[in-house]
């Protein structure tokens, strides 16, 4: 691949929640800025830009990634999933999202997108996750509103329901 010049914008293409997208970015542009300000997908939030708060967490080719620790050029050709892609249809919520609503697992909602992306990937890989495993996973996110208890409750509830639907 040719060397991408620092001073120019380059075409970046990837799949966002199943839809091909394209935009231009300098090599230094963070994926957070690219998603939010180039593509207008503002559901992914920015809380620290140094990889601690987890608000920006997305899925890149199915694996979790801090979008603030990812350059847009690095995801050329990848499949990106963000919070905008979680609901099964407009006006409906996924099992996980429903559980969050039922348990009041969000207040301001600013941390929520990242937490949902982490749980979505994790529960798919480990549907039997217990509270300890969920707390360990969630330790990669900061939430200042909820005190985490309702998030844990929602995650456990969602896990149970997902297991049921898997067996049904």
């Amino acid at each position: 691949m040719p060397r991408l010049s620092a001073t120019q914008r380059h075409s970046i293409r990837f799949t966002l929640n199943g839809t091909p997208v394209q935009g231009e970015a300098e090599p230094r542009m963070l994926l957070t800025d690219f998603l939010r300000h180039v593509l207008g997908a503002t559901g992914t939030h920015v809380g620290c830009e140094h990889g601690v708060c987890g608000a920006c967490t997305v899925q890149v080719d199915g694996a979790l990634a801090r979008a603030c620790l990812t350059l847009a050029v690095q995801v050329q050709g990848c499949e990106i999933r963000t919070v905008e892609g979680l609901a099964p249809a407009p006006g409906r919520l996924s099992i996980l999202q429903e559980a969050f609503r039922r348990h009041h697992a969000l207040q301001c909602g600013f941390c929520t997108a990242g937490i949902l992306m982490s749980l979505d990937a994790f529960l798919r890989a480990q549907p039997d996750a217990d509270e300890a495993a969920l707390r360990d996973l969630l330790s990669g996110h900061l939430c200042r509103c909820t005190g985490y208890a309702p998030i844990i409750a929602a995650a456990l509830d969602a896990a149970a329901r997902l297991r049921e639907t898997a067996h049904a």
Partner: protein
């Protein structure tokens, strides 16, 4: 909080990456998972002229095991290794302490070794197990023992034109036992003290991270009656410092007390 400008090369082959390193010297930085580098770029602590992305070099993405060693390529992510069905017990114990699930899914083992943070777990394990670092430049390849690799705070024996191609870790041997413990302020934080121990028939090799400028290891006698003195000497030798999160005294005390626990545990699982 946005990075300064840099060029970007997505290397498709090792030669391409090495050629860029050779041409650019210290202006080039390898980016693999980016989990240590990106915060530094965002804060403009690091200002490379060019980033060389090695994650598309297929040859680097493999972890291969023989009966003797596990060889981990530069593009192997921490999460990928952790998901392997059989993994060296010390690595398996230490890897969950590396950052968080959300960073392990991107971060590589070799990237952590190259970064050489004094609190990092992977360098510590490498040192405890006497692994090796495979360095490669456009001109040559060489192996450096972990014992010789970490030279200071984020300082290693790597030359500017070299990159880590892989690390190798000896496979667990029968008759050895391993244990790992870490204390940080919060889960996933930089270690205040991290201990990794490998017990064998004639002694225990104990490696300590988070205290000195780089991880340090010592061979301690098998006889636990001698441990207190040996640990005390080790604790003093590490030249612990005070910082925001812990005092030097606390660090030394943890080396003594946790160190002892970890050695006991390692000795107990020698099977």
């Amino acid at each position: 909080m946005k990075p300064a400008k840099f060029d970007y090369v997505q290397a498709e082959a090792l030669d391409e990456a090495l050629a860029t390193l050779r041409a650019e010297g210290e202006g080039a930085r390898i980016i693999a998972g980016g989990q240590s580098l990106l915060p530094m770029l965002n804060m403009r602590l690091a200002r490379p002229a060019v980033l060389v992305d090695i994650m598309h070099i297929a040859a680097l993405a493999e972890a291969t095991a023989t009966t003797e060693t596990l060889r981990i390529g530069a593009a192997v992510r921490q999460a990928a290794l952790l998901a392997r069905p059989s993994l060296h017990p010390l690595l398996a114990a230490a890897l969950p302490w590396v950052g968080h699930a959300q960073t392990r899914s991107r971060g590589t083992l070799c990237g952590s070794v190259a970064h050489a943070d004094p609190s990092a777990e992977i360098p510590l394990v490498l040192l405890a197990l006497q692994g090796e670092i495979l360095l490669r430049s456009a001109r040559r390849a060489r192996r450096v023992a972990a014992t010789d690799f970490f030279t200071g705070m984020m300082q290693t024996a790597r030359h500017e034109d070299e990159m880590i191609e892989a690390i190798t870790i000896p496979q667990p041997r029968t008759g050895e036992g391993y244990a790992f413990r870490e204390v940080g302020r919060r889960h996933g934080d930089f270690a205040i003290v991290a201990c990794a121990a490998a017990a064998h028939a004639t002694g225990v090799r104990l490696a300590i991270g988070g205290v000195a400028d780089h991880p340090a290891a010592r061979e301690l006698p098998a006889d636990s009656a001698q441990w207190d003195d040996a640990l005390d000497a080790f604790a003093h030798a590490l030249d612990a410092r005070d910082d925001l999160h812990a005092t030097a005294t606390y660090r030394r005390q943890l080396v003594r007390k946790l160190g002892r626990q970890v050695m006991q545990e390692a000795a107990a699982c020698r099977a």
